[in-house]
Symmetry: C2
Subunit: 394 residues, 2 copies
């Protein structure tokens, strides 16, 4: 084959991530590369860290971006905090709880699974039962915002339960950070990870993490070395820790960090609470349109994530064909279901830069047109007006 | 602190990497983000893979970029090929052989160290002795191009020795790929990893890897799961493997892959042998200037990497001050020594896009000016002419 320079089509990204990236972020990323030990770069790292602490609502010193995607952020939390022989209680209500289980097993530890239906939040009572049954468990892990279902769990309550039973809590905040409330210090979360490409609307490839004082103490008291050299926080912090002197660990992804710095700057300019409110408002408008069409949400209202809307595929509709039509006719990407929900749902993201009125209205219009053409059982002609009435009331 | 958009200074990157990035690569990276399962993106991945096979000179199907920096590429090779209880012979002649040892230990295996002095190549006789002494070893690992010293080892000979003793060979080609000869198939290398930010002159954050048929067979016959979920090749290949259907594993670093695609395209346009010749030629010019100044190379000529030149710091010269002056007065970054060579050497990179006549002459001029101002024991006024005479003869 003869390769040519790659010019991607211009899409609107309303799937489960990556979300649309602001031109400001793309432009920042394209600035000239400098060295990872350049004093100018080190100053940028300090700013980035402070803004990341703000996004996480934490003063944790051990707050930094892992130089790899969100799933490496997950693995960083597990390999540093879990030791062989440990018991870890994993709450699963979607794909990513299952990935946590894989991580626990690969650390040589035993996962104790607390299962909830996909689309439901984690049930605190089940977690409490597991904690009572397994008093030797050292860690609890759960997903605050399940990207595979759009369900939100009550992180504060789950963390408190973990602490009441002398466990540390590892929290997956991949889809929540920047899009809906997450308060690492107020909720006393011990370890948390996220991704760059969801509600922060940065390019993919960076996984912000933060470790609280109990987690740091556990890392310092480990019996053995962390099984991953690349993800060993005790080594990485020689580079990301404060002070003028930075020890080389690995070569940081310089330009992606320019992009991440810009994305965090945009969040700071808007204000975290304003960003949460914007995500909530756009969700309400999308919901009005979706319900006007006669489509159903998968998750019950109190547990719905505003930034990730799981919609049931109507009976008889070929969900793959719908997504292909949206992509081909409208350059619009929405997400498919994963695992147990594959073929049964669509996932419509309203994340970060992509969470705006134009996208809500375009998505509703495109979805209505495609479904109507396929003679799907929907109520046409009402979705846009329903959404607009919410925006009008904003 | 009040953060602002980060505008890096414009540097010339002549350290051990990252190297200067072509404007073409920066521009490609800033194109609009699309989804990691978008058909347009999947086509780009196929092109990228074919060009990466060309760069590695391999037909290995299992050739792809790991979504993380070079040190994660190293770890990917070790965690997939090494199992607990294995014996691995690690040849060390610099920093990165030591990092290999760390990887072996963290896989629960036993490293057998074959030590050579820093700045020397790996001695094949010592490797052969170790293979005879340890007939139960399953793997040999070495660095083809030691980034910490600029020494090149004879990869073909070392791999053949490994095979003669029924071992697989893992080769670190972080600094060689694209800059000096590396022939994965002809030399029958079983597993190789590199970085994006050296002689390919892409931004940092991507680690190309390739696994040959013996390595694939070993991965398929593993007794246990790979300890890293993120780096488990059997899972990653569901996404990077051929065919139209790609299974989600993790979210690929989309825009960095645009950049990597463009960097590989530039290499293909130039031609691999032409790139090797250019690196060799610019090294000769730099060498002429360095020697005219009266400075000494650390590595003997037959083993010198053209893309990474280790120069001994003259007696009485404050090496840190010299680098600071080069950065502040000339926006020129060169590298410091690492580990045993810290404070004793400079590392001058002539890698990829940065390996050109302008950089050679600017670097010699700046180094001469700074050293003269510090009254260092050098021969002034001859370096530029010496280098130009090499270019004139080109």
């Amino acid at each position: 084959m003869t390769a040519k320079s790659f010019h991607p089509p211009v899409r609107t990204l309303m799937g489960p991530g990556p979300s649309d990236v602001s031109p400001r972020v793309l432009e920042a990323m394209a600035r000239p590369t400098i060295g990872h030990l350049d004093p100018a770069f080190v100053s940028m790292m300090d700013e980035l860290k402070a803004m990341l602490q703000y996004a996480f609502q934490t003063r944790n010193e051990l707050t930094m971006p892992v130089s790899a995607p969100g799933s490496a952020g997950m693995e960083t939390c597990f390999v540093n905090l879990v030791e062989p022989g440990d018991k870890v209680i994993v709450c699963q209500n979607g794909v990513f709880g299952g990935r946590m289980k894989e991580n626990v097993e690969r650390c040589g530890a035993t996962p104790i699974m607390v299962m909830d239906d996909w689309g439901k939040p984690v049930d605190p009572n089940k977690l409490e039962d597991a904690l009572i049954t397994h008093p030797d468990a050292r860690t609890v892990a759960f997903v605050q915002a399940e990207t595979s279902t759009g369900a939100q769990s009550d992180a504060q309550t789950l963390v408190k339960l973990a602490h009441d039973h002398d466990c540390l809590a590892i929290v997956d905040a991949v889809t929540s950070l920047g899009g809906s409330p997450l308060k690492v210090d107020a909720w006393e979360i011990d370890a948390v990870y996220s991704g760059s490409q969801k509600c922060l609307s940065c390019v993919p490839g960076i996984a912000p993490v933060s470790f609280g004082p109990r987690a740091v103490e556990r890392i310092q008291n480990r019996k053995g070395k962390v099984q991953s050299w690349f993800m060993d926080m005790s080594l990485v912090m020689g580079y990301w820790g404060g002070g003028a002197k930075r020890a080389y660990h690995h070569t940081a992804p310089i330009n992606t960090l320019y992009a991440f710095h810009e994305a965090l700057l945009i969040l700071q300019e808007e204000g975290l609470e304003n960003a949460w409110a914007r995500h909530a408002h756009n969700h309400l408008a999308l919901r009005a349109g979706i319900e006007a069409m006669g489509l159903q949400f998968v998750v019950e209202e109190p547990y719905r994530l505003p930034q990730l809307n799981a919609i049931a595929v109507p009976a008889g509709v070929d969900e793959t064909a719908v997504r292909a039509e949206l992509l081909n006719r409208y350059n619009l990407e929405i997400g498919a279901g994963l695992g147990a929900l594959a073929g049964k749902i669509w996932r419509i993201g309203l994340m970060g830069f992509a969470s705006n009125q134009t996208n809500v209205l375009n998505c509703l219009g495109a979805l209505e047109a495609v479904l109507s053409d396929m003679q799907a059982p929907i109520q046409p002609g009402t979705a846009i007006a329903a959404a607009k009435s919410v925006f009008g009331a904003g």
